[in-house]
Symmetry: C2
Subunit: 361 residues, 2 copies
């Protein structure tokens, strides 16, 4: 079995990479959670049947299980749904060995993960991501949380999983728009950390869009490895290093907040945000035109948006960026590329340039 | 200034011990929170005027401040009040440098601390405990959380403060019952860790009950040091060592849950719980009668309860103990004394003995 090992001392864990191995979850959980005898399986309407399979293999491997299915969609990342998970954990007499198993996309992982982070001051967590975005991003690295009515992910905790089980066959039934959205974060890893990987993506875009299993395992595995490399060096976003993962995200969060939760998918917002960030780097004199052109071409091939929507008020976008949690003391801060495969943090970008870039078609 | 240093690597912090130095909070906060320029001051109805003084000294030392006053009482440790704190943080445009300053007893510290632990995945926290219990226990060690409707502190996180400011003058206006309740945890430290400190408490019980400032600083400081020694060795309750602090608490949580939140104060429940635990140790053949007699005498001198209430159903008490978060796999587990100043974990205590002890007058 292919896997990626995340080295975080006592919080180290394995990311398993498989294709069409649904019965493998139970034995993997048995190894990743040696002390656990019970598990709460969390899923949403889209993943409830996969969650049933997961529950069966957990039971076959010695776990007592209970399950909760939450509504699909970003609105589920709320204190109210969180409270329902707490109730379910209470009802199953959860103790500190009881694991939470999140079967789903980013919403299920973030919500289930935050319940695990905060029930009894911390339960073990197993991630079973079922979307491209969750596989390459949200299930790796320990970020968990729910939304505040005024902003995404404002409430949360760092809580590393005890293991991540990735089965690329889960992607077979993923709607096309969601699959493409996940590819934005994949492109991001190439731009910020790994030029050869970016070359790979350009060369194998067709196989990737066709969801060819070996290509998926390679692309997902490399993305996880690149993210893990960063998380290992700055687990809790303290040294600034982990901030490189936020490339495109200051813009993206503004698009998501102003556009509303029903607007763009996260990866769509990130795609347009990366285009803005590359353009900002160019106007700021950090790079020439080639990086932005290649990034734009790849994102376009993946069918992703590449600019802000004209109906979003500029002043609102700027206001959201100023209160972004990556802002410090009110300054606008951006992760910008200095060459393909390398980014740095800049806090000296004039607001006028940001407005120019947002206004570009 | 006297102080206790808690050594936790990058999460190390200072506990300042003062008497009648209200203007000292601002300079202390300036040192403990060098990167912070804003603070949310949280208090309850009992501490709102102290919180005003704290806000003034914070502003005089360069902090922009906002404040929230929550209702007094255990019912405030709820997801609803937590949500109000999140709203207040959002309203003041909090970023990761914005500190939460909790001015109050255990309820304010636990609630404010959990908001700090989970807003933006972690804000710096300054504790200004105003009750005996908060000074010697809840403000030191990083436990934060709120209650689940079915059980105390079921939702929470470990989040160490950046500093703790203790002013024993805050105790001058504390109601007698609350003051005495806090002394239960003080007695606990002597029994579990420090025989000479227990001797001290016996010898100086009069000065302590008279709230003599130097005695208070000594007793509070020694209690903080003893707790810090344990927390330093087992910050997140992982090795089992920190469990020694739970002496008396398996019983106490059952008394609190079955008695309801309006029943005993936490320290009162702990006092009766320690009497039960010592008696259990005696029946289990671990100790002779002297420890229990001395402990009973001291707790009685402090006006604290020393037995379960006859109207509490035995089966309910036992059921709560079985689902206590210190239980593992359903076994009853107790921290029991093996001599004055030393305790150990026992998971082989027959339920019949527990029932005997609970039935004793």
């Amino acid at each position: 079995m292919e896997s990626v090992h995340v080295r975080l001392g006592p919080r180290s864990y394995e990311i398993a990479l498989t294709t069409a191995q649904p019965a493998g979850v139970g034995p993997f959980a048995r190894r990743a959670l040696p002390a656990s005898t019970a598990a709460l399986v969390v899923s949403d309407a889209n993943t409830a049947s996969l969650a049933n399979d997961v529950e069966a293999t957990l039971r076959a491997n010695g776990f007592r299980t209970a399950s909760v299915t939450v509504p699909a969609g970003e609105g589920t990342k709320s204190l109210a749904e969180l409270s329902n998970l707490y109730d379910a954990l209470y009802a199953m007499t959860a103790d500190r060995r009881t694991a939470v198993v999140a079967v789903g996309g980013g919403v299920v992982g973030d919500l289930g993960g935050f319940a695990a982070a905060t029930y009894n001051r911390g339960l073990p967590l197993l991630m079973v991501p079922t979307t491209m975005l969750a596989m390459v991003d949200s299930s790796v690295g320990g970020k968990t949380g729910v939304n505040h009515p005024k902003g995404k992910n404002l409430i949360g905790a760092f809580h590393q999983p005890a293991g991540v089980w990735i089965d690329t066959a889960f992607l077979d039934t993923l709607p096309d728009r969601e699959f493409r959205s996940g590819l934005a974060e994949v492109v991001k890893y190439g731009v910020i950390l790994d030029e050869p990987f970016f070359d790979d993506l350009e060369a194998n875009a067709g196989d990737l869009l066709a969801r060819e299993p070996a290509t998926l395992r390679h692309v997902v595995g490399r993305s996880c490895r690149l993210k893990a490399d960063v998380v290992e060096k700055d687990e809790r976003e303290e040294t600034g290093l982990r901030a490189v993962l936020n490339y495109g995200h200051t813009f993206a969060h503004a698009f998501e907040t102003v556009g509303g939760y029903g607007g763009w998918l996260h990866g769509e917002a990130v795609a347009a945000g990366m285009v803005c960030a590359a353009r900002l780097a160019e106007r700021h004199g950090l790079i020439g035109p080639v990086l932005g052109q290649r990034q734009l071409a790849l994102l376009t091939k993946f069918g992703l948006p590449t600019a802000s929507k004209p109906e979003w008020p500029m002043d609102e976008l700027i206001a959201v960026m100023r209160r972004d949690k990556k802002a410090a003391g009110g300054n606008l801060r951006f992760i910008l590329p200095t060459r393909l495969g390398e980014v740095r943090l800049f806090d000296d970008v004039p607001e006028a340039l940001v407005r120019d870039v947002l206004a570009a078609p």
